[in-house]
Amino acid sequence: MASTEPSRAESSGSILRVRDLVKNYPIMRGVVFKKQVGTVSAVDGVSFDLAPGQTLALVGESGCGKSTVGRLLVGLERPTSGSVVVDGVDLATLSPKQLLEKRRDIQIILQDPYTSLDPRMTVSSIIGEPFEIHPKSLPQGRTKRQAVAELMDRVGLNPEFLSRYPHQFSGGQRQRIGIARALALRPKIIVADEPVSALDVSIQAQVMNLLMDLRDDFGLSYVFISHDVSVVRQIADEIAVMYLGRVAELGSADQLIARPNHPYTQALLSAVPLPDPIVQRTRERITLGGDLPSPADPPAGCRFHTRCFKAQAICAAEQPVLRPVDGAHVAACHFPEPMYDLAGGGSAR
């Protein structure tokens, strides 16, 4: 149990293994002769494992690097260092051709259903595009049109709308189109980058339910990226809380929300608005001071120490590593200590 490795240790059962992922972006200046004047540290040493059929959520606020991790996973960006191992194969060892094949296993759903669909393509060419890029992935004995119609039906869209254009659909329907496109290649893993945050409340629940159904039906594994802990709570088996490019705390969803150990997780949970006026008025809240530091100049030691209500001298000097606080539940804090009932009424309800 008391493994120092993040998550479920090095079990061969993981479909996705991420180790020490680092992504730095150079800051360039100059018009003709560009030179590097600094580095933005977007992701700094992120590691986790994902078991088949499971959902790991990356949670954090803007600038925490969660979306960058998502892009690194699907190969939209190249990591500065670290490894991404999909189903036992390290992506860095693959030739471009092999990488293209491997991409079928890990697909992404993007946040904005309005900009993520080509406005000049019909729904059938959008959902059918994966089959054009990977002709071998077309299910046996089906035409592209049939395959697209089946996918549309599966995500709750009327297949008669094949030849419509994206702007004729509502936000929720567009997100379903994006989900169908990600599903076309029958991936093993789907990275869902804020898939419901652009949608109306009543539509969010529909799309969340669809994602849960698809996971169960196809045995998918999700990396679910979101800023909304309440949404994540409903779908995630494990949660990794990120702050300024690093994992602050990682554990099973139940444990992490019931007993958060990292001060940042505690502040984050206590700030989540709850739709219950009475609980909301009486619950304890932790207000963080100051602003998020720039990732171009991250604080030394613990990156959270400038805003932490527990910070001591050691926090500015030494970077805390992820240490177990309770079994597989790990936190990167010099002074971890569980806090209860931040999620509201706790057991009272």
Binding site: T115, E129, S170, G178
Partner: protein, 309 residues
């Protein structure tokens, strides 16, 4: 009781109802929907249609024989006659029928404009898309090239080139217009390409494993060419005018070829005695250029979704 109220329906439930139930309509379809209601569009369309018909089938409107003294089409005795039943637009110094000349002069004018607009758009779009999509060194080099050509003034550059080199028929003017005109299309397309390539749908295609050329031609280009088509239409008007300018300066078409531009040039000496020698070709030129530019504006309004209420 409350369970029956919430009735959690399956996920497929959703979305089948509601939404937009109108027929499928592309963005071009939307543009057409708007254009149909635009008076500006119809007026310019009718004028352009008439001019194109004249340029394509001049023999249906006039007798080719009347445009050459060699074929006996011109009677010197009739020189500089004012418009009449026999000569609707009057005659010129050689007694040739200006109506016939105007009809047969349309084709070279229009051809120069169309060919130049097509080639500048194609060349500019290719350079613009490559430059904008790849960025980096490729972009820096192409952008400097564009800057150099942008620095050349069209008229001066054209005079220099056309004085130094000789080309058959309309090709000299076309060459000059393409060489000096493609840069504005390239600049424009480079900008719209950079905008389009940063859209999420391009990211989605890359995540599927699409190659650069697929992304460029399937996703970026269709979303980047809209404005350059509008500019192509508007510059078509400019090119027709530019051909007239070069011909007027004696650098465009050479005898026996003629266009509205050469007719205007020839009218210099007779304008005060016989204003019709200038007014008819100049009138056709002006109305055509104006119609093309108005058409460009109508199309731009139609293609711009932001202009819709």
């Amino acid at each position: 009781m409350s369970e029956s109220l919430s009735r959690p329906a399956p996920a497929v439930e959703a979305a089948l109802e509601g939404g937009d139930t109108s027929a499928p309509r592309s963005q071009l379809g939307d543009a057409w929907h708007d254009l149909r209601h635009s008076a500006l569009f119809w007026v310019s369309a009718v004028i352009i249609g008439a001019v194109l018909a004249i340029a394509a089938f001049p023999n249906a409107f006039a007798d080719a024989a009347k445009t050459s003294a060699l074929t006996g089409g011109c009677d010197f005795a009739d020189f500089l006659q004012s418009p009449s039943e026999a000569h609707w637009f009057g005659t010129d110094q050689l007694g040739c029928d200006i109506y016939s000349f105007t009809i047969f002069g349309a084709r070279p004018s229009i051809a120069v404009g169309l060919i130049a607009a097509l080639l500048t758009t194609v060349l500019g779009t290719v350079v613009g898309v490559i430059s904008g999509y790849y960025g980096g060194i490729v972009d820096s080099l192409l952008s400097r090239l564009v800057d150099i050509f942008f620095g050349l003034p069209l008229l001066l550059g054209g005079i220099v080139i056309l004085s130094a080199l000789t080309f058959p028929s309309i090709w000299g003017v076309v060459f000059v217009l393409v060489i000096l005109g493609w840069v504005s299309a390239a600049r424009l397309v480079r900008g719209t390409t950079i905008e389009a390539k940063n859209q999420d749908f391009v990211l989605a295609a890359r995540a599927l494993g699409a190659t650069n050329s697929r992304i460029m031609w399937r996703h970026v280009l269709p979303n980047a060419v809209g404005p350059s088509i509008v500019v192509a239409v508007i510059s078509l008007g400019g090119y027709i005018g530019a051909e007239a300018t070069f011909s007027y300066l004696g650098l465009g078409l050479k005898d026996p070829d003629f266009s509205w531009g050469t007719m205007i040039a020839a009218a210099q000496s007779s304008f005060f005695q016989a204003p019709w020698t200038l007014l008819f070709p100049a009138g056709f030129l002006t109305v055509t250029v104006l119609a093309v530019i108005l058409m460009g504006e109508a199309v731009r309004d139609g293609l711009d979704p932001k202009s819709r209420a």
